[in-house]
Subunit: 340 residues, 2 copies
Amino acid sequence: MKKIINKPEDFVKETMEGIIAAYGDRVKLYRDDFRILLSDYPVKPGKVGLVTAGGSGHLPVFLGYVGSGMLDGCTVGNVFASPSATKMAKMIQACDFGSGVLCLFGNYGGDKMNFRQAMEDCELEGIPCRSVIVTDDVASSPAGLENRRRGVAGMVYAFKCAGAAANRMMSLDEVSAVAEKAVKNTRTMGAALSPCIVPEAGVPTFFIGKDEVEIGMGIHGEKGIEVHKMMTADELTDILMGRILVDMPLGENDEVSVMVNGLGATPMEEQFIVYRRAAQILKDKGVSVWMPHIGEYATSMEMAGVSVTVFKLDNQLKELLADPANTPFYTNANRLEVSL
Amino acid sequence: MKKIINKPEDFVKETMEGIIAAYGDRVKLYRDDFRILLSDYPVKPGKVGLVTAGGSGHLPVFLGYVGSGMLDGCTVGNVFASPSATKMAKMIQACDFGSGVLCLFGNYGGDKMNFRQAMEDCELEGIPCRSVIVTDDVASSPAGLENRRRGVAGMVYAFKCAGAAANRMMSLDEVSAVAEKAVKNTRTMGAALSPCIVPEAGVPTFFIGKDEVEIGMGIHGEKGIEVHKMMTADELTDILMGRILVDMPLGENDEVSVMVNGLGATPMEEQFIVYRRAAQILKDKGVSVWMPHIGEYATSMEMAGVSVTVFKLDNQLKELLADPANTPFYTNANRLEVSL
């Protein structure tokens, strides 16, 4: 196991220490708890709180999006494991600014169960809570059973739009409706070329042949839908985009943002080669492509591979996506001013 | 060879196609030449031009820093190979806004030779040119022979400060002096855990044992200074920081920015674990640490490993580092407004 870590059991805590050492002027721990990160930006009184939670090992998901214009708080568990309901409840309480809290998180059993408990506890204390569950991974369940799909890189679009809605002082119902629409308009397909190693386990999460690529692999190494011999970037992109476009047909008059996400060990050059093909496929259909996201947004530590996300825009989502945001891993000036 | 590419010989061109597809509203090709990228932001008349050049395979170095407040132009060669003097000369001409051009680039034989030729040609056409060569890699040559050192990730600090100086309408001599001071104040030490594969070669750039780490490895796989058995993150950081601090002693009253740079396949979590230790070492010495840079700034495609850069600040360099910049891979709001 060749990882730049100290004791495996300190991996999550020391990552958080690094984030605080680097960005302690913008984010802070909740009462010295190295599993709960809060924004330290000024908040308008009465703003809806926006929080998430999930396992560690996916940076920038989730901690990297805590700041201004996106998440107010995030609690993380061990690598690939949900944090406890108790920590979620503390975070929700810390992120209630008087108008309730939206819990926006990926569709995983532990996270759902713990958030349900935490929200019940907080409701009893008088904090209105809503949840919206991200289900963007097309490969993880067929059409018609979208609510069984996992949440992967597309959740970043939901964080961004819901965070902007909250900053515009929309109500809890309105922010929740924005998050739901963002999830409904988002599709992701991924492919893995190599596994990662969970520090405390010390062994690869799955096996894949030296000349193979697995389509539809989850970001924790969940089994995909097809294993192929390694193919060209264009062939791979065609498969990923093909699956997305069957699930969410697009045509002229549609406008989208495309995210090409590296899973941890994929060179940026390769991400741009994939983006180039994805954008071409969309343009050939007459779809407008706007505000690209290319880089590492949701990783599996040192897993090699890539995911492609298509986020269908309407006027509201476009404005919210373009709103300013400032977090350790996501900075956005108002793009509308520049490009519209 | 498991890479998400098409034909190896199209790797550089298709990467550029992806960059243009994504950021064509902010950067542009020079006359449809897929090796020369120019900023498409408005430029104040009389601003000094700032350009660089070098081999491909290091994104975000170099192309990612073309935009507003950093580089005006960049030309790239094949993977790990210098572009030609002819392309450099075209780029310099395109980036002369009436006050001359600073060529700021890493200390590699091909780049130096070709820039010398290009600058001669441009001077003959009446364009004042200066060059400043980045030599931040401590491992590549001992103290006293700093001018033989390679340029690695620290060049991003020089791009940022010289770009800001040019934007403040400083003269060619003044911008060159800023770049020279930035280089003089920058030290980098890297370590590699795995090699990368040059697409057209198809074989790893070097061999390293499954339980080994090579200290001082260059970003093209140039031989390092020591091979160790794999160690903890803290032990590795101590070695890298130790070498830097012997070369550039720091103490109370000193202020620095620290960059922890992933070489391409290093999880962000590990980069933060290293940053945490580096910041602690500096704080223990009474050194102030400001404006961290953690992420992938200069890579070797899918090489695993990390480099640490320490950039010693004075008031001028701090102001210039804090100035706004907007490029595809580097966005900065004015940090001084936020944090001073």
